[in-house]
Amino acid sequence: MMSFETIVKVLVIEDEPGLRDSIRDYFTEGGNICETAHDYESALQKINLYRYDCILLDITLPNGNGLDILETLKANHHPDGVLIISAKNSLDDRLHGLDLGADDYLTKPFHLSELKARVMAIVRRKSFNGNREIIFNEITVDLLAKQVSVNETPVKLTKKEYALLLYFIANKGKVISKNAIAEHLWGDEIDISDNFDFIYSHIKNLRKKLIDAGAGDYIQSTYGMGYKFGEH
């Protein structure tokens, strides 16, 4: 079976080398392209020369403000998706960024899996061919109807299971930590997501529903750290 692959081209504008490299490593696989820029000037150069599906933009950069880059992009009517990544969890920054036309805003520190899921969501929204469906082997997700079917057979998922499946597919082939899953499903403000028993039962239910509908067994636990979605 063929899995539907979206090849994405991403630019990471981030001055912190450790974080930049991690993001690049995480995003570069399966034909995806991830370029990097470490400061204001090099970032401006890149966005003037190339187009990207999504630009990951740090607001605080050496020699400049990331929001200016966003303004340049919008002034030139470039269609690139923009995801702001900032250490400042300030509503002003967030609103300002979104006002300027950013597609999403993520506060540091974040899980790479969360970042990937957000980027994929932006890319999907931006794509011209109206990518209303995500297909992974025999699993089809209808994004508009929020319907999941396996080999054309609808599978009834709860809201959380649906979100979980999307999250898994966006990060297919990657190990996702239990923390990241808990935060994705319940938000990161509550301490309650530290209790991971219920994640296990969620995943168990999702897995069972998919297998019962005839899908392969794609979810596996990895060394107690987290879960991985994909073909073995």
């Binding site: 974080l19 250490a87 509503l91 506060t107 520190p109 319940w186 107690g224």
Partner: protein, 417 residues
């Protein structure tokens, strides 16, 4: 006791004491002067008697007089010393005894010694003294009243700058950006006080701001390294071959970084609430909001077998949505997390209050400590800032937040006002 009352009491007591002493001295002086005058009259009378005796060689005839009585008494002895003394004066007209002054002297008429007793009534003197006494008393009373009123008005006016400064200090709030308003006064002491208080509030606020800025910056600065650690862990997890032990360690590190992150975010949020940086508000129906939240938590509730009983009346509140989310996440999160398996959560909402109560440990939490920063139950893995955040949010909207333990239920209650 107010300064003015204390001052009035002292000044009143001192004034009264002085007036009493003065009155006494006054009385004695006047009485002495008047007695002297009477004595002089008596001497004049005596001289007249002597002059008459010298001229007529006989005792003068004694006439009845209003205020004067003269008596001649034959005496056996010659040596009668001339002396003044107090005596009673019998007033026949009034038919009563009056205080009087008596001069005892002697005169020789035809070889016979007579004792002369001249008594003059002092009643008029007494009247005079009494008159003077009452006038004085009246003046004293008027004086005291005036003094009291003037003190009150004057002192109150004089102290006005002080009370304004005091009011400023009372209203002084570190979280507010504006310090103590300067008060103008031409009195040096108050001006000094004002300058010092204003300067002090400025210093305190500066220190507080820089301290808060430091905390906020520190928390911000920590976010980037945390992001690096987090991303490196994410990357490390992708490494294929690993033992279960290694996986477990990574998991623990990941988990701990997560706690650090939450702690940091809570600290940042606290400082932003205190800095009033969460000003946007919208009107939200709390009942609806709570229902949504419960929906969100339904898997958690089901997992632990916790039952919900709710009585939600429509209750629109004007509040920042993010803060409301934080508040309810914490309250409901706590109610779930610190509950017993198959426990119960009760939610009661009306226009006046929101009460969330849950079963849990069978002993009450320490009411004071529970709202303290970084206080948490030993088994809790939380940041210890959850309820502090709730309290802080309630404070910023003027809600009252309280905890109590009743009939095995932990009650967290928010009173809207």
């Amino acid at each position: 006791m107010k300064l003015i009352d204390r001052y009035n009491r002292i000044s009143l007591l001192v004034t009264i004491a002085i007036i009493i002493v003065t009155g006494f001295v006054y009385y004695l002086t006047i009485s002495y002067i008047l007695t002297n005058r009477v004595d002089r009259d008596l001497l004049v009378e005596e001289n007249e008697i002597f002059a008459y005796v010298k001229l007529n060689k006989a005792l003068p005839q004694v006439f009845k007089s209003d205020g004067l009585k003269i008596r001649f008494v034959p005496s056996a002895t010659d040596d009668i010393a001339r002396s003044f003394g107090n005596a009673m004066f019998y007033n026949e007209e009034e038919n009563e005894q009056e205080a009087g002054r008596m001069l005892t002297s002697s005169v020789k008429v035809g070889g016979k010694t007579y004792r002369i007793e001249i008594i003059e009534s002092k009643v008029e003197t007494e009247y005079l003294i009494r008159f003077i006494f009452f006038i004085t008393l009246g003046i004293i009373l008027v004086l005291l009243t005036l003094l009291l009123i003037i003190n009150r008005i004057l002192v109150r006016r004089l102290w006005k700058p002080f009370y304004r400064i005091l009011e400023g200090i009372k209203l002084f709030n570190l979280a507010d950006k504006n310090g103590i308003n300067p008060v103008t006064s031409d009195i040096d002491e108050f001006r000094d006080l004002n300058v010092e208080v204003t300067a002090m509030s400025g210093r305190v606020m500066n220190d507080y701001q820089s301290l808060k800025g430091f905390v906020e910056n520190a928390a911000h600065e920590l976010m980037t390294p945390l992001a690096v650690i987090n991303s490196k862990l994410d990357t490390l997890m992708q490494v294929g071959e690993m033992t279960d032990k290694q996986g477990e360690i990574i998991s623990e590190v990941y988990h701990t970084v997560g706690r650090l992150k939450k702690l940091n975010r809570s600290m940042l949020l606290l400082s932003r609430i205190e800095n009033k940086l969460m000003a946007e508000r919208e009107t939200i129906d709390l009942a609806e909001f709570i229902d949504d939240k419960l929906n969100e938590f339904q898997e958690l509730l089901a997992e632990r077998g916790i039952g919900i009983s709710k009585d939600l009346k429509p209750c629109p509140v004007t509040i920042n949505r993010d803060l409301l989310t934080v508040m309810l996440n914490n309250l409901l999160g706590n109610a779930i997390l610190h509950n017993t398996a198959n426990g119960q959560i009760e939610i009661r909402l009306n226009q006046n209050e929101l009460v969330i109560s849950n079963t849990g440990a069978n002993t009450a939490l320490n009411e004071q400590k529970v709202l303290q920063r970084f206080y948490k139950s030993p088994e809790s893995e939380g940041s210890g800032l959850g309820l502090t955040l709730v309290k802080e949010i309630c404070d910023s909207y003027g809600y009252l937040f309280g905890y109590s333990f009743e009939a095995g239920l932990h009650l967290f209650e928010i009173k809207f006002q």
